[in-house]
């Protein structure tokens, strides 16, 4: 007779302007591997952050019952204390410390602050044997591969007497072989009676190890499938099944000739020189066309866009780009901008805005020559440009002198968009243009995209939200592991088709 180890009831979590989770229910039985699947942004990670206390009790509604007791975690420490350990997608290891130091970081065997290294290393060796990692505990983290680092994270979790192990996309950056080994390890733990929650995009993996699958979509639990009902088709349908009502502005595409043509584009990793990140990409965009690039995180979409935009990413970049049939030089950002290409980054805070400066200065930054003559800025011209774009993109701020750091995500995105619109590009690449912004602002961004296309600009939209791509684009490329693995007109595309292209591509790769 199995018993329920974890019960999450009616979990609702709201961020300013967004309901990330609404009435989510999750029930995990003792000793099972429970998979949680859903699109990027569906709310999986938020749910796990609620569970592990990253969002402390009181910042969400609903209740968590773990081993029969209702829990109110105030931080990760509380949840780890009773045996819930989460391993995040981005590994939290200190690269220049050893395996042993990392495993017992903050939890060292010590008396009066003096560390007993022998005890630490002995215990580390035992833990490493458990996860099947043959490394000296003194080896620095930076000297072992990602797959082994993942195992160190698991060993670290085991050191905390874990009852429920949560793995968030554990195989996202692992090779096929390392992934297999990790999944085998999970099955081994299961035989020993441990319960785990596996969050994954890779449906073949879920299919292989999961006892139950819970599907989350738009912050809601859709259903929980028992082992016998698990199949890729069933999961995909459940993951994406929603209507595309009127969340997107209507458009009548007027598509002209090819403007941008990219041929045989290849890029290598900036640090690991032998790793090819972008593999021979061919792609084109027409005047007035909105082209989408679909794919999961880590498919290489951002890397592709940034390598195109003034070689801002990668090394050994090869391939040809032509604009209006003429080859163009994109070897620096200023040349790319001068050629008529603009790239709106996916990470507006790190790469898009000067957060300690106001809207006006941010809007004109990419085209200062447009508001100056002989290097002297015309304050009045700059002012009217800033106000003009503030109206055009509907930036809600008290004035153009408001610091961009104090704006909401949606309004920040509009400032970044304004900056690039003022640079007057022919081709606009938008990388995750609606990430982290609320539904209303999303609609406004879609309207701007539609208007730009109507004005004859060529637009590339990179997005992990498939409904968004289906709703606003004319044609969709599907990317996976640095390759284009599919191309389809949006009218013939569906989320199932895109998912299938990705999953099929996944099997082929590596």
């Amino acid at each position: 007779m199995t018993s329920t180890i974890l019960e999450m009831r009616d979990i609702t979590k709201t961020f300013p302007g967004v309901k990330a989770l609404s009435n989510v229910n999750l029930s995990v039985e003792e000793g099972e591997i429970h998979a949680i699947v859903g699109e990027n942004g569906a709310g999986k990670s938020t749910l796990m952050k609620v569970l592990s206390g990253v969002y402390p009790s009181g910042t969400y509604e609903g209740e968590i019952v773990f081993r029969g007791q209702e829990c109110h975690f105030k931080g990760i420490h509380d949840s780890e204390h009773i045996g819930i350990v989460i391993i995040h997608q981005e590994l939290a290891l200190v690269p220049m410390l050893s395996i042993a130091e990392n495993i017992f970081l903050g939890n060292e065997h010590a008396t009066y602050g003096v560390i007993d290294w022998n005890a630490n290393e002995k215990r580390t060796s035992a833990l490493l044997r458990k996860v099947g990692l043959k490394e000296d505990p003194k080896t620095l983290i930076t000297n072992i591969g990602v797959g082994k680092q993942q195992l160190v994270e698991i060993a670290k979790a085991l050191s905390k007497e874990v009852k429920l192990l949560i793995l968030d996309e554990p195989t996202a950056s692992l090779s096929e072989k390392d992934s297999q080994a990790l999944l085998d390890l999970l099955l081994e733990f299961k035989r020993q009676g441990m319960t785990s929650i596996l969050i994954s995009h890779k449906l073949n993996e879920v299919n292989r190890v999961a006892d139950k699958v819970t599907v989350i979509r738009d912050g809601r639990t859709i259903e929980t499938l028992p082992r016998k009902d698990i199949s890729e088709d069933r999961i995909i349908t459940s993951m994406v099944g929603r209507s595309l009502d009127d969340r997107y502005p209507p458009r009548e595409p007027q598509i002209g000739d090819v403007i941008l043509e990219v041929k045989n584009w290849s890029v290598y990793h900036p640090i690991h020189a032998e790793r090819q990140v972008i593999k021979n990409i061919n792609l084109n965009v027409r005047k007035g066309e909105v082209v989408g690039i679909a794919g999961l995180m880590g498919a290489g979409r951002t890397e592709f866009a940034m390598s195109l935009f003034g070689r801002s990413y990668g090394r050994h970049i090869t391939g040809e780009v032509s604009l209006d049939g003429k080859p163009i030089d994109l070897s620096s950002v200023s040349k790319a901008v001068a050629s008529g290409i603009a790239y709106v980054t996916e990470d507006r805070k790190t790469f898009g805005l000067n957060l300690i400066d106001h809207i006006k200065h941010n809007v004109t930054l990419a085209n200062l020559s447009g508001v100056s003559s002989h290097g002297v800025i015309d304050d009045m011209r700059e002012m009217s440009v800033a106000n003009d774009y503030r109206k055009k993109t509907n930036i809600r701020a008290s004035s153009v002198y408001q610091l961009t750091g104090n704006l909401s995500g949606g309004n920040q995105q509009k400032v970044v968009l304004s900056k690039w619109l003022f640079a007057d590009p022919q081709v606009l690449i938008l990388d995750e243009p609606t990430r982290g912004i609320d539904v209303g602002a999303k609609y406004e961004i879609y309207t701007i995209i539609a208007r730009l296309a109507a004005e004859g600009k060529a637009i590339i939209v990179i997005s992990s939200e498939m409904p968004e791509l289906l709703g606003i684009t004319d044609r969709i490329y599907v990317m996976n592991e640095g390759r284009i693995v599919g191309e389809m007109p949006a009218s013939e595309a569906s989320q199932e088709k895109i998912m299938r292209a990705i999953v099929r591509g996944e099997g082929k790769a590596s």
Partner: protein, 430 residues
């Protein structure tokens, strides 16, 4: 600051006319923060005026004050750009010392013939300063070596070269009078003096020094022109804003600001005019300050430096060549360090091994007291200048009061810390 003709863009403007009273209040608070520093300088000056029984504002002391601190302020202009760009330069004191030594060797020791002319030497020295800046900037910009390390190395290297050039501990001089005029000279009175009160004549038929009142008319005329220009450009900027339909700061505030600024400027002009006139170095400083205010507030290159300091990655992805910009910022710093070195040598009349020693810290302190952020992206030229004067007035005032040099340092340190704490506190409150 009679030279600041650029409109202050941060002065709480908004085009929403219906929020009139709120704008007035916000304009007042932002202005208070902006002018808080100048008010602090005035308060400090009045304090020392009182504690030194009126010595501080004496014409001869004002001239001294300017001549003693001008090199700090000249270098602070370059340092402001370096710090706004997100870097630091620890080498400026050593570079200044080295350039002073180089200038003295060229003018006094080396047989250069016609090339030992002070003007030629000064130009060569400024070029050498540019090259030093370029050499340091190259490693910082193109090899991403932290500026702290590169310029720390520069600090050691150029102090060493300075001492080696001067042959150990000796000093080289005296320097030609025409060179010394850069620091201790006054502008010639082309109009001619105006005697308001004839000096008293003693029994022996000689005039008593310091009695009577004779004005240096060229200084008076230049001062009045500068004040008029200040008022005119301020008014013109206002008109332009209003013509384009943007709310400017409330008119009464503008009038008060202009009147107080003009009165202060005219008072100082009068003090200088009743002594020997405008110090040459003050004129040099004034021109440079105006230039840097213009560059930072109105020119694209200035804007790019602020953007780079605020978010280097975003600036790069906006098409700004951040490497070249960094190089230029350090070349500029090198030229101004060289000018600082020439000013020091000209004031001392000779080159000494310790010239400019430790001055990098005064320069950096001036910039931070002036409200610049150690994270980059924030800072004003006027702030750095006022910060420099605050340090200078404290040095001068405490020296007159006879405060021990050791305790002077303690007070300066406390003022630096206090100014930055005040700034951080203010920002968090806002």
């Amino acid at each position: 600051m009679s030279t600041d003709s650029a409109p202050a863009p941060q002065s709480g403007v908004a085009e929403d006319v219906k929020h009139g009273p709120r704008i007035a209040v916000s304009a007042l608070t932002t202005n208070l923060r902006e002018y808080g520093l100048i008010i602090a300088l005035i308060v400090i000056m009045l304090f020392f005026q009182y504690t030194t029984s009126g010595t501080l504002f004496k014409p001869v002391n004002l001239s001294n004050l300017v001549q003693q601190n001008s090199f700090i302020i000249v270098m602070a202009l370059g340092m402001l750009l370096v710090i706004v760009a997100g870097y630091i330069d620890l080498s400026v004191g050593s570079v200044a010392g080295f350039i002073g030594a180089l200038a003295a060797m060229m003018m006094v020791i080396w047989p250069l013939g016609i090339f030992s002319n002070p003007l030629v030497v000064s130009i060569v020295c400024l070029i050498v300063g540019a090259l030093i800046g370029a050499a340091q900037g190259y490693w910082i910009a193109y090899h991403r070596i932290p500026s702290f390390i590169v310029t720390l190395a520069g600090m050691l290297i150029f102090r060493g070269i300075c001492q080696a050039l001067l042959g150990g501990g000796s000093s080289v001089g005296p320097l030609p009078d025409s060179f010394k005029a850069l620091s201790s000279g006054f502008i010639p009175d082309v109009i001619g003096p105006l005697t308001l009160i004839p000096p008293t004549v003693n029994a022996a038929g000689k005039t008593i020094v310091g009695s009577g009142l004779t004005l240096h008319m060229t200084t008076v005329v230049l001062g009045v022109i500068a004040v008029l220009a200040y008022a005119y450009f301020g008014l013109r900027a206002r008109r332009k804003r209003e013509k384009h339909g943007y709310e400017a700061e409330p008119f009464p505030l503008f009038v008060i600001k202009t009147l107080v600024g003009s009165a202060l400027a005219l008072f100082l002009v009068f003090q200088f005019a009743s002594y020997k006139g405008l110090p040459v170095v003050l004129l040099v400083m004034g021109v440079l300050i105006s230039l840097f205010v213009f560059v930072t507030k109105r020119m694209t290159i200035g804007r790019r430096i602020y953007a780079m300091g605020g978010n280097a990655k975003a600036a790069q992805l906006s098409g700004i060549n951040t490497e070249r910009l960094t190089l230029l910022v350090f070349i500029n710093m090198g030229v101004l360090s060289a000018l600082g070195g020439l000013i020091i040598a000209a004031r001392l009349g000779q080159a000494v091994p310790a010239a400019g020693l430790g001055s990098e810290l005064d320069v950096i302190a001036a910039v931070f007291i002036g409200g610049a952020s150690a994270m980059g992206g924030v800072g004003q030229v006027i702030g750095a200048v006022v910060g420099g004067f605050i340090m200078g007035v404290m040095n001068n005032g405490m020296s007159i009061m006879g405060v021990n040099v050791d305790w002077q340092q303690v007070v300066k340190g406390l003022v630096l810390l206090g100014a930055v704490i005040f700034d951080v506190y203010n920002k968090n409150k806002a």
